[in-house]
Amino acid sequence: MNDKRELWIGWWTLVVFYNLYGLLFFVVTRTQPPPQPTLAPAEIGQWFADRHYGLLYGYAFVSIVGGATAVMNATLAYSMRRMSVSRAFAYAYLVIYALATLPGMLIMGVVCTVGAMRPDRNPEIMSWLYDFAFLSFEGTMGVFLIGSLVWMVAVILDENRVFPRWFGYLNLCNALTEVVVAPAWIFKSGAFAWDGAIAWWINMGVFVTYTTVFLTLLRRLILREDFGTGPLPDLATDGAPGPSGVVKAAG
């Protein structure tokens, strides 16, 4: 009954990783919020120069912890394996999020590092790297779109009450905001560019909300988990200790 250590390791990996991801992308490398796509080559050179050590050290660290996404994805897929739905949902989710790691994190990290490594390069080449890095990051959106839809259908079809239905619908909201990023491939400035109010700011607001919600719901899933195959039991009382020691383990 108390064998939830593996699940808590997965859950804490998610929490720590998302916080680290925020710290590394927003504070250390300062690649987020994204800069303007319209910067001139000279300004792009300056952009790389301003972040020289942040990019090098930040993405070195990202490349070390990047593998944690495997544990995270497995924890997310576990929620689908606990549902009454086909295993295909969990498999599809695992595969698609494994792919998302590449453009959303590693390619962007490598390309930014390539730019930072030799700051005296031709500005035209630097602006090529700049576009490549940010378009690669944007390119994950279709992956999150399909991943959210897979999760949505699983939650709605599930009979084991692993997650509330409204979380299924929230997945649809998240998926729809991912679609909204697509204009960033066409527009270089304004609300639909990759730094725009609609393509980035609103989308990021929804994504942070969505992530906070699913972390909370995954925590409740682990608290409720009885390692059976039928419907998950409810928590005795919201916030009250579950089976002995579980809340303590959750910290």
């Binding site: 619908y169 729809l176 204009p183 066409i186 609609i198 609103i202």
Partner: protein
């Protein structure tokens, strides 16, 4: 949407007005409020341009004209909001057709009818209506 367990869940959890789908409605309303605010702010920054663009909207009726417009001026910035909001609404509408299909499927057989599922579908469908009323008012009516 299997019946037996859903009926059981209904007995436990069913309350009128379907809070699950209303959570979606609330969240979508918040997101669209964000889009509308961006539109209104950009419009106020460039009022003359937006007003002259709006005058074009009245002339360009019909599918043919829309296609011509799509082909010729997709990249013209002033129409970007028009295309964005109508295309996003169209996407909601396409999902709505799927949702209506679920409602029809539920209603087809008396054994399958789930009030919860049908009310959820209806709530989604009317949300799409409501969003269109807002978009129409912003794009066509607001002066």
């Amino acid at each position: 949407m299997s019946e037996s367990s859903e009926e059981r869940v209904e007995a436990d959890r069913f309350v009128p007005r379907q809070p699950d789908m209303w959570a979606f409605v609330l969240f979508e309303a918040l997101v669209f409020t964000g889009y509308f605010l961006v539109y209104v702010v950009r419009r106020s920054q460039n009022l003359d341009l937006f007003l002259s663009s709006q005058a074009h909207l009245d002339l360009r009726v019909g599918v043919f004209h829309t296609l011509v417009l799509l082909a010729s001026s997709w990249s013209v910035a002033r129409f970007s909001f028009y295309y964005f909001l109508t295309a996003l609404h169209f996407l909601h509408l396409l999902i709505g057709f799927g949702v209506l299909g679920i409602a029809v499927h539920q209603l087809w057989s008396p054994a399958r009818r789930s009030q919860q599922a049908i009310e959820t579908c209806a709530t989604y469908w009317h949300t799409v209506d409501f969003l269109w009323v807002m978009i129409f008012a912003l794009l066509y009516v607001m002066r």
